[in-house]
C-alpha cells in the first residue's frame, strides 16, 4: 500500500500534514533543530510576539501537577522587530509553515504586529493570542468577552491579508459564543484551547507555588476537556479548527481530528521530548497504514453527528 496522504487544507493554508507545534512550547523553532527537521512538521507556531520585547513574570513560573503543569511565563519574548530581524531570515529557508502567534497588549498592538509580520514576508498565517491567562494588559481580557474579542479580531483582520487564526480561551462559560464572535469578525479559522487557569499551593510555606499566584494548566490532564470543547465548537462554526490540549501520542491527536479538528498542535509534550511532535507524526502515519486509511481527511470530524440544516 502506498503511504497515506497526510496533507490537510486549512482554507488557503495548505499543510503537508496536520501536526503543528503550539505557541510557547516551541520557542522560535530554531531551538529544536538539534532534535528534528522543521521541514517534516506541518508547521509550527512561534512564541507570542508583542510590539516590544517583554521580560515576563517573576519566578517561580512553573510547577508540575498531576499529568500536567502550570505555567505563568507572562509572554516573555524578543519582540516582533527582533523576531523579524534575527529569526525570520533563518526560518524562511526552512520549508515549513511558520505561524506567528501575535500578542498586542491593546488593540493597536495587535494591529502593529500583524502589519509588521505581513510586510516582512515568510509568515504562513497569524494566530491571535487572545487567551493568555498570565498577563494583565490583554490576552484573556479579549478572549473572555465576545464583544472585545470581535473588536480585536476585526482590527487584526483589517491589518493583514494573511490567514487569520484566533486562539480560543477555555476559561469561558460557553466557548461557542466566543467561537462564533471570532468567526463573524473575520477569523479564517480557530485554534483551541489555550491553558486552563489553575493554581497550586506550597503546603509547607502556606503560599501559592507560583509567584503570580495562578497559572495556565496544560498537559495530558486537560485533554478530555479540550476534546469536548473542540467537539462543541466544530458544531457551532463553519471554519477549520486546530485542536490542542495534552496531545502526547497519535491516538491523542486522532481524538481531536475525530472531534472536528483539521490539524492539531503539540504543546507541553515538546518539553518532555524535543522530537515528540515528529514521533507523533510517524505514529499517526503507521496508525493509518495499519488500518488502510488512505487520507487523514477521512478522520476529520468523523465522529461528529450528521449536520442538520437549521431553518430559522
Amino acid at each position: 500500500m502506498s503511504k497515506p496522504d497526510l496533507s490537510v487544507d486549512l482554507g488557503s493554508l495548505k499543510l503537508r500534514n496536520p501536526i503543528l507545534t503550539a505557541s510557547g512550547t516551541f520557542g522560535y523553532g530554531l531551538e529544536f533543530e538539534p532534535y528534528l527537521k522543521l521541514s517534516e512538521l506541518g508547521g509550527f507556531v512561534t512564541k507570542g510576539l508583542s510590539p516590544k520585547p517583554r521580560e515576563g513574570n517573576p519566578p517561580p513560573r512553573i510547577v508540575e501537577t498531576p499529568a500536567g503543569m502550570l505555567n505563568t511565563i507572562g509572554l516573555q519574548n524578543v519582540g516582533v522587530d527582533a523576531f523579524i530581524e534575527e529569526k525570520l531570515p533563518l526560518l524562511r529557508e526552512r520549508d515549513t509553515a511558520v505561524i506567528a502567534n501575535v500578542f498586542g497588549e491593546a488593540e493597536a498592538g495587535y494591529v502593529e504586529v500583524c502589519q509588521k509580520l505581513e510586510q516582512a514576508g515568510g509568515i504562513a498565517a497569524i494566530e491571535l493570542n487572545v487567551s493568555c491567562p498570565n498577563t494583565e494588559e490583554g490576552g484573556m481580557i479579549f478572549g473572555n468577552d465576545a464583544s472585545a474579542l470581535a473588536k480585536v479580531t476585526a482590527a487584526s483582520r483589517a491589518a493583514t491579508s494573511l490567514p487569520l487564526i484566533v486562539k480560543l480561551s477555555p476559561n469561558v462559560t460557553d466557548i461557542r459564543v466566543t467561537a462564533r464572535a471570532a468567526v463573524e469578525a473575520g477569523a479564517d479559522m480557530l485554534s483551541l484551547v489555550n491553558t486552563f487557569v489553575g493554581m497550586a499551593m506550597d503546603v509547607e510555606r502556606r503560599r501559592p507555588v507560583l509567584k503570580n499566584i495562578s497559572g495556565g494548566l496544560s498537559g495530558p490532564a486537560i485533554r478530555p476537556l479540550a476534546v469536548w470543547l473542540t467537539w462543541q465548537v466544530a458544531q457551532a462554526v463553519d471554519v477549520p479548527l486546530i485542536g490542542m490540549g495534552g496531545i502526547a501520542s497519535a491516538e491523542d491527536a486522532i481524538e481531536f481530528l475525530l472531534a472536528g479538528a483539521t490539524a492539531v498542535q503539540i504543546g507541553t509534550s515538546n518539553f518532555v521530548h524535543p522530537d515528540g511532535s515528529i514521533r507523533i507524526l510517524r505514529e499517526l502515519e503507521s496508525w493509518m497504514e495499519a488500518r488502510n486509511i488512505s487520507s487523514v481527511k477521512e478522520l476529520i470530524g468523523a465522529a461528529l453527528p450528521p449536520r442538520r440544516e437549521v431553518s430559522s
Binding site: T25, E31, P59, I62, V63, M69, T268, F271, D275
Partner: protein, 268 residues
Amino acid sequence: MSRDITTSVLANTDLGNGNWLLEFGSPELASGMRPAQFFMIGIPGAATLLRRPYSVCGLPGTFEDRPDGAVQVLYKVVGHGTGLLSSLAPGAPLTVLGPLGNGFTPPDDPEVTPLFVAGGIGSAPFPALAASYEGRFPKPVMIYGARGAGDLALSDWFGERTEMDISTDDGSVGHHGRLTDPLIARLDREPQRKFKMYVCGPEPMLEAVGKIAVQRGIPCELSLEAHMACGFGVCLGCVVPVRRADETTGYDRVCMEGPVMSADRMAW
C-alpha cells in the same frame, strides 16, 4: 551538541541520608561535557510528566574505579521524582537529554586556586570539577557545609583531593554553624592568595556566598538550580533575575545562560 537518548541504569548507590549516586552508560553524551552542565533525566512509564534536571557529578575518569564511558549524577531524594529515581535497579531504562547548559569555566591563570563552596547536595558538580582541574591548578580549597555529618556526601573523596573545611548546622562534625563562617575565615587568613570561587547549593547560600565574593572582588561562578520543564531554552520556566550590561535588570534562563552564572551579574 545535546542529544536525547535512551540508556539504562548501571548502578544506583545509596550514600545514606537520602543521598544517592546514579550511574548510567553514555559515552556519546559524556564526550565534551563540562562540569556543572546537566542532564534532563526521565523514567519511561513514570507517573511524573516532566523530566528533571541533574548536574553531572562524575564524567569518565572522575571516579577511577568506574567503568569506561559511564557518567554519574548525585541526587537527594526530596520528592516524587527523585523518590522514583532511587527505586531504579541496574538495567532500568532512562531517557537522558544532554549535555545541557554552559558549565564552569577554569581560572584564566594557573596560579589561581579553585575554591569550591558546596551546600549539601550542592556538592554534586564538584567531583567532575576537581578531577578536571587536577594537575592544572593548585590543590582546590573546599568549603563544605550541610545539615549534619550524614549529609556530607562523598566527603571522603573530597577530603583526599581538596583542602577541606567542613561546617554543619547541628555541629555533628566540623564548624558548628553556616559555611560562610569558615569561608570568611579562610579568605581573611590568606588575603594574598588568588582564588576563583565555584559555588553550588541552596539559593540563600548562593546569595550569601555570591555577595561575599562580589564585595571582595573575587571571581565567582554560581551553579544555579531551578524548576524547569524542558532544559533546552523554550519553556522559559527557569529564569532568574540578572543585571544586564546596560544596568537594567531582566531574566536569564538557568538552562541556557546558566546554570553557571557570574555572581556579579545576579540581581538578588
